[in-house]
Assembly symmetry: C2
Homo-oligomer: 624 residues x 2
């Protein structure tokens, strides 16, 4: 599309071509061709994930330590560094790709913990049988609807209607014989009509809820009458092409002209892909979906809406907005009914977002008379501590290791993932789905680390014992061979272990420091809620063995699954949930751990398996 278009780059096996100017990176060209490469480091040449093979043509290759000589001989290069200098044929291996959309069903209770909120969808439908006007009843069309809503539906307050709906109103009312269904949503202080349909369609009312994660985006189509999800879907957040964590994405937004807009489009594309697929599968039209809610960390929320996030990175770490104003689908670019409301779960601070509010709401800890702890084992490990009296929260930058990013054979909890490990050898692991193993997901890594520690294959520092069975020298230090599958070896390297150790240390230290901040320790915590994509299949024993979770008795742990998503679903379905979400966000106080003197100590001490202070640690609670 560029006016300077010079060279044609063709990607295989698809055979898709694009024309790009000289010195474009292959990563950029792939992006334009619609091929999603796994560019975890944001294209800085440091992660090595974007490997492609140049079959034909002229490229300029800056030197890179991420490639071996044999790689280079095969024509393998890093897409983010290689510059187009002629027409090219490029092969993109499976392992360098972001996975295609992975449709799966996910259903659940209204609240992750079984609490049922009072009903009342974000967009409500009212079937109106309006009296036909005559010379004794001369109300105009819009006032006729308002009178009916006030007198028959007993709604009090002001009503607003977008001009575009007013324009269709008279024809619709008369064609429908004055029997119409009005969709209404409550904005602060007034009602908005978001749709008017002929006849009685009040039996059909749908909404979407989304979890906008740094690594993945999950969505559900929700039947607002039945109060349950119809279908769900998770896709990778295509922002990964600009960096695997929020910070490298902010850097991208600052360094590339139009970078923020690229990030906005990348996230929005995921949301709209889910929306389109689920709408199609349910045989609906996009106008049939009358509301959306979403939860995400503060940076994701800013980026999805195109709001400048860069000040979150700088002292004093301020977002532009925690509690979003009333938004429409049209404004936000989400492809459902244009006038539909978009409700974002309110956040608390730059590093404690709407996803944490959703988590508290979903696990219900804000109603508890006892002190509870919520740990989100995600890329931005967010933590909340408290109950009905107080709630404090903090962020632990755990990194994406437990979500399968930044580790050699990591993948998310999807088919082909090793999700459980009990012992070394063939029978010691369990694969998600009836397929060959192709990687390891978060719960698999937790089990694997615990097994390696238990079997003495790995020491408490995370170093592999050279002489232990399965351990061998790898490309980057020692590695342990979990299995061979389809000609590829699935391994965990010492570098991977280091990454995972840091992630678990960050989470554990954040929880400890937060407890210290309020003068408590783990023993005083009556319940630990664990949320995250893998949340429901994690092995508590393993997690305690490696020191990710504190050594409390098992019954104190509750796995809540994706609470960001279930919290978003609750607000879609209940005004009570919306009220509680606002209340949670307003009374939750944020604790900046980098300013807590104890945090670094805690973190350093947690950089062992399970912990430096083994005594103190195992003594910190009762064994389950």
């Amino acid at each position: 599309m560029s006016v300077m278009a010079d060279y044609k780059v063709t990607f295989y096996p698809e055979g898709k071509s694009v024309e790009v100017p000289v010195d474009t990176t292959i990563l950029r060209a792939a992006h334009e061709a619609g091929i999603r490469l796994d560019a975890r480091c944001g294209g800085q040449g440091t992660c090595g994930a974007c490997r492609v093979r140049v079959i034909n043509g002229n490229v300029h290759l800056p030197p890179s330590g991420k490639l071996s000589l044999s790689d280079k001989k095969k024509g393998i290069c890093l897409a983010c560094l290689a510059l187009v200098r002629g027409d090219l044929d490029v092969e993109v291996p499976f392992s360098s790709r972001l996975e295609p959309a992975d449709l799966f069903e996910e259903t659940g209770e209204n609240s992750a913990c079984g609490y049922v909120f009072s009903p009342g969808p974000l967009t409500e439908k009212f079937f109106l049988e309006l009296p036909e006007p005559d010379k004794h009843d001369r109300l105009c069309d819009w006032e006729r609807i308002r009178r009916h809503l006030r007198s028959r539906c007993e709604l009090e307050g002001e009503f607003e209607i977008p001009l575009e709906l007013l324009r269709c109103l008279p024809g619709l009312l008369r064609a429908a014989g004055w029997k119409v269904t009005v969709s209404l949503t409550r904005a602060p202080g007034y009602f908005v009509v978001t749709r008017i349909e002929a006849g009685d369609t009040s039996g059909e009312n749908y909404g979407f809820c989304f979890d906008i994660g740094t690594t993945t985006i999950s969505g559900q189509l929700v039947d607002l009458n039945a109060r349950k999800p119809v279908s769900g879907m998770t896709v990778y957040n295509a922002q990964a092409a600009f960096g695997s964590d929020v910070i490298s994405r902010i850097v991208h937004s600052q360094q590339s002209p139009g970078g923020l807009e690229q990030l906005r489009c990348a996230a929005l594309e995921g949301v709209n892909r889910i929306a389109a697929d689920l709408i199609k599968a349910a045989k609906l039209a996009k106008e049939d979906v009358g509301c959306v809610s979403f939860a995400g960390n503060t940076i994701m929320t800013h980026m999805l809406l195109g709001i400048e996030p860069k000040y979150i990175r700088r002292e004093p770490y301020l977002p532009v907005v925690n509690e979003l104003p009333y938004l429409t689908a049209r404004e936000s670019g989400i492809c459902i009914a244009g006038s539909a409301p978009v409700y974002a779960l309110p956040g608390v601070a730059g590093y404690a977002g709407g996803d944490l509010t959703a988590g508290v709401l979903a696990c219900g800890m804000h109603r508890s008379g006892e002190v509870c702890l919520l740990i989100d084992v995600g890329t931005n490990g967010e933590i909340a501590l408290g109950g009905s009296e107080f709630i404090v929260c903090a962020a632990a930058s755990a990194g994406p290791a437990f979500e399968g990013s930044g580790v050699t054979c990591g993948m998310r909890a999807a088919s082909g993932a090793i999700q459980k490990v009990s012992s070394p050898g063939r029978d010691g692991y369990e694969v998600n789905g009836d397929v060959a193993a192709r990687g390891i997901c978060g719960s698999g890594y937790i089990d694997l680390l615990a097994m390696l520690l238990r079997e003495g294959i790995m020491d408490r520092n995370g170093r592999l014992k050279q002489e232990a069975p399965g351990v061998r020298p790898g490309a980057h230090g020692s590695e342990y061979l979990v299995c061979s599958s389809g000609g590829e070896d699935i391994v965990i390297s010492e570098a991977d272990i280091e990454n995972l150790k840091r992630a678990k240390a960050a989470i554990y230290a954040a929880a400890s420091a937060l407890l210290k901040h309020v003068g408590m320790d783990f023993a005083g915590v009556s319940r630990v809620y664990i949320s995250g994509g893998f949340g429901s299949c994690i092995n508590v024993e393993s997690a305690k063995e490696i020191g990710l979770l504190p050594a409390l008795e098992n019954k104190r742990f509750v796995f809540c699954g994706n609470t960001s998503l279930s919290g978003a679903r609750s607000v879609l379905l209940s005004p009570q949930a919306r009220g509680e979400a606002a209340e949670i966000a307003s009374r939750m106080t944020y604790c900046e751990l980098s300013l807590e003197p104890s945090y670094m100590e805690e973190y350093m001490a947690a950089l062992f398996f399970p912990h430096t202070d083994l005594e103190g640690f195992t003594g910190g609670g009762e064994r389950g």
Copy 2:
């Protein structure tokens, strides 16, 4: 632009060309070329106003009684009937054109009658000196603004902000050193931020008010701080190309595909032309204008906003909307700051619109302890009767004769218009501006009729005396020569007199019938407010002599000028005015005169100069 483009039509003297398919009318082609023809009958071949001369080329000419043989010999034809059958050169004479925009100054008090409303512009500016955030004051940007508005500006309630403003917020706040000016408007139940500017711009705050008339559109740029208009301008409503009255325009909207959209664009073009010209003359940018109010009859209001008006024509004559919801400039297409509010004066019924509400508001009759009468001598003569106790209203379809349309030499009150007539002969008339006479405006016609009646040149029926000086046979019956100017004769024909007689009868009969409806007569009216474009220069004596106004003593008449415009200006400047406008619209009851048995009688009786029942008439009040 059409894919079937066949023939090129060039209009002179401009030399503008368009390509149109075979059988397009020349009127349509002219419209596409941006040349505004005076098509008063809406292109039905009946008004004869759209005369053009074909210089070259092939046209198909249906027969028309509006053209003489000598016209035809000269190549003159009606643009609305002539069909393009080949490349054409067409000359458009001055007399067939809608006048170009005519800029004039108009200033005035806040209320037409000197009443000063409590101040408070529709969009208010607040200069905020926000405290810079630090580690002890971690409010996010948007919450920081809200806190300040609540605590310092003492505003209570919810605040909303459009996403587009939120997107610019962080950069702007920091670039401005946390000193910004926020524009706020009050929507029902909450505040909306409509603009944020760096520094203190609270000294500059502008809005527009408009009168959307059937024949003309007037607008003023208002300095909201000084509480007075900066400049004003009136243009013809380009909808005239689709018919001179509201009914023929509704017919157009029903019969032509896209007709309503054409009408919307035609009215909007006038509004935006005024807006652009006044903004430019004041050396402002369009973003500097932060609010708009407008008043118009119900059909104009519907058409300007693209809302289907056709049901207003059918029993039970219902508009889609009387009280418009909160609208933005962006939605309505008005070219000022996109998020600026657009406030439409609320109407009462299909034939009693926001212009009448504005009129009542401007003359202040709703506050009067005595009974007052408001007569709008416009195309849709609207009438209100009452005071603080009650207000009833009605519509008299007077037609556009008093606005200078539908009469041979009619024009609006602009330069070149004969505006006063005292006696026959050269010294007997006065021309607006220092130019030669080129037509007669409403006040001129009233004087002229009174003079003709007084001098015995015209009888009480409106027939010209053949033997009287100045009377001669004309193209369509007898005519009276007022003067010759620049080679053209300015005349009034018997057909013109008939039109004017019907107009005055409609207005007088409506007022009488409305009085009868409440059991009163003219004697009980303490004050008669006259509004309309010419309102301030009309001669009461003449109006009484011809029976347009009742024979009350002169001091009971108050001329208010364009109350639609001054009412719209008041709501722009005062929350009290906005409150009163809503109250007026809600308590004013509409009386459908076509259902009043007395109306037809009154109308028939008024079809004489001054009236059939001369005794009863002159006895109906005291002579002034």
